[in-house]
Amino acid sequence: MPAAQPVSKAEQDALFVNLYNEFHQPIFGYLFRLLRNREGAEDAVQEAFLKAYRALPGLDGKANYRAWLYRIATNTAYDRLRRQRLLSWLPLLDAGEDPALGYDHIDGCDASIQVQEALDRLPLRYRAPLLLYSVYGLSTAEIGRVLGITRSGAKMRLARARRMFIEAHGKGE
């Protein structure tokens, strides 16, 4: 991961390309898990990386790029979910029929489906730290930066998320 702050546009572009190549697929998976929709996740990835590209020149050279990118992705997902939640109040829209809200199951075994369903039962504020820790390998300190909370707060939220997931997955079983 590049650490030096780019000074020229070429360096910034090179840094962005490196970050994109390294993180676009994990972030897409993270957004897919949060949004439960492939098209929405693709749009969110595009939006998130555009935001990242615009904010890259002002970023501190010592910044944690991974946490920074996941933070942008998380905020983008929150914004999209917030908009979807507002749209769901429209009378002509049925949340069950809205493809943006429906869970986009991928092909897999029953165990994977159960895990996915258990994950989906978690509130977003607990789903995100669990995914970030267990799937994408972020530390609790990084999770704290992503979610805008302290490290101890991230630990606490992660512990609760784990317990909630166990309960949700046990019900599914």
Binding site: K9, R38, T140, K155, A159
Partner: protein, 424 residues
């Protein structure tokens, strides 16, 4: 309970534990079967979550993102210069417009920047708030127009089109003037009446130290912007107002319309038939207030039908005492000569107001020459002294006999006789 929560927090992030914490947790796990079970569930949980399949992202998304970021980088970087460039262009435009406006302020008719000056004046006039302020600025603009004409005459820029306003005057030398500017009336406007002393709008062009009039139309009194066009002054001989206004109300012919007697005074033939000291119904304010020109004698007066009834206040405002005369015996009748190119007068139906009659002078003039020459015996009996007393009492007058362009003419000529358009 709190101890259990602490162990739960440590187990939730087991991989982050440093060696010291990890050894402590491992000791606890060996002692507590429930904690061991939780640890196994967490490890299983991580394995399950990590094993979730994630669909691969569409490659087109990557292309779109790259096209929207790196490929557009130049445009994005240039966007930072856009406000600076816009501000610089705005400043440049402001300097250009301001410089042009400043440079055009001294332009004269015929100059390239003169339209800019006029447009700027119109804009400023339109943006002037308040009727009083707008009228004052309009007056200033009228003065600017007259100054421009004077400057052009001084420079001798023949052929330059000009446009200005002012009171129609008649100089002692027999010239027609508008706001002190000598004018040449074209033949086309012959036989068309207007009022001497009334404010007129002139369009013409510079020609031989004069302005050759192409069109001349009267202005309403409110629109008159001539200097000194303010309060009507008593101008009549015998203390009764006459003068320019008299001309307006008398449907007389102008000096061009020579009397049958052929005298040099246009009004001598019918002066006796005209009631003396007839009060002017519409005294041209400029004629008296300015006092700067000698009113042409009234043409053969026909009794002078007032075009506007006078109000009692106006009557009171006009003194009735005899006004001083320049010379005794030089006036024989009412000062009706102020109407040179008469208007309205005899046949309003045939001579619509607003047009100019050709002043006829006995002496050769570059422009129109009055053709009416009074008989010798009536030399001193027909002038326009009506304006002289008032003018002399109100405004300084130039030396007699001198009628400088742009300056008020004397009420009488150098020989002491009042001048008139018909006087040679």
């Amino acid at each position: 309970m709190a101890r259990k929560a602490r162990w739960l927090g440590l187990l939730a992030a087991y991989r982050e534990l440093d060696p010291h914490e990890r050894s402590a947790v491992n000791g606890f796990l060996q002692r507590d079967s429930e904690a061991r079970d939780l640890k196994q569930r967490f490890d299983q949980q991580d394995a399950l979550l990590a094993s979730l399949d994630v669909p691969s992202m569409d490659p087109a998304i990557t292309e779109r993102i790259m096209a929207a970021t790196v490929a557009r980088g130049d445009a994005v970087r240039q966007a930072g210069w856009r406000p600076v460039l816009s501000a610089a262009l705005a400043l440049l435009l402001l300097i250009m417009v301001g410089g042009t406006a400043l440079a055009s302020s001294g332009s004269l008719p015929g100059d390239a920047l003169y339209p800019v000056k006029r447009v700027g004046e119109e804009v400023r006039l339109a943006l002037t708030l308040g009727d009083k302020a707008r009228a004052q600025y309009a007056d200033r603009l009228g003065e600017v127009r007259r100054q421009e004409v004077h400057t052009l005459l001084d420079l001798g820029r023949a052929g330059t089109p000009v446009e200005f306003e002012g009171p129609l005057e008649h100089s002692p030398t027999g010239e027609w003037m508008v706001a002190g500017v000598p004018i040449l009336l074209p033949n086309e406007v012959d036989e068309t009446p207007t009022i001497s002393g009334s404010p007129v709008h002139v369009m013409g062009e510079i020609e031989h130290a004069r302005v050759r009039v192409r069109t001349m139309r009267p202005l309403t009194s409110s629109a008159a912007t001539a200097p000194g066009a303010a309060e009507p002054q008593p101008t009549g001989a015998e203390g009764t107002p006459t003068g320019a206004g008299r001309a307006s109300e008398s449907p007389s012919r102008g000096p061009a319309s020579a009397s049958p007697q052929g005298g040099d005074e246009p009004s001598n033939a019918q002066a006796t038939s005209t009631p003396p000291a007839t009060r002017s119904a519409t005294p041209p304010p400029s004629a008296t207030a300015d006092g700067g020109y000698d009113k042409p004698k009234d043409s053969p007066a026909d009794g002078g039908q007032p075009t506007r009834p006078r109000s009692p206040s106006e009557d009171k405002a006009r003194p009735t005492a005899p006004a001083p005369r320049p010379k005794q015996g030089e006036e024989t009748g009412p000062a009706t000569g102020s109407q040179m190119p008469s208007i309205s007068g005899q046949s309003p139906a045939t001579t619509p107001p607003g047009t100019v009659t050709k002043p006829s002078h006995a002496h050769p003039q570059p422009g129109r020459q009055p053709s009416h020459v009074p008989p010798p015996g009536q030399q001193g009996s027909h002038t326009a002294p009506s304006s002289a007393p008032a003018a002399a009492g109100n405004t300084p007058r130039p030396p007699e006999g001198s009628a400088p362009r742009g300056s008020p003419a004397t009420p009488s000529s150098a020989n002491g006789n009042p001048t008139s358009p018909g006087r040679p």
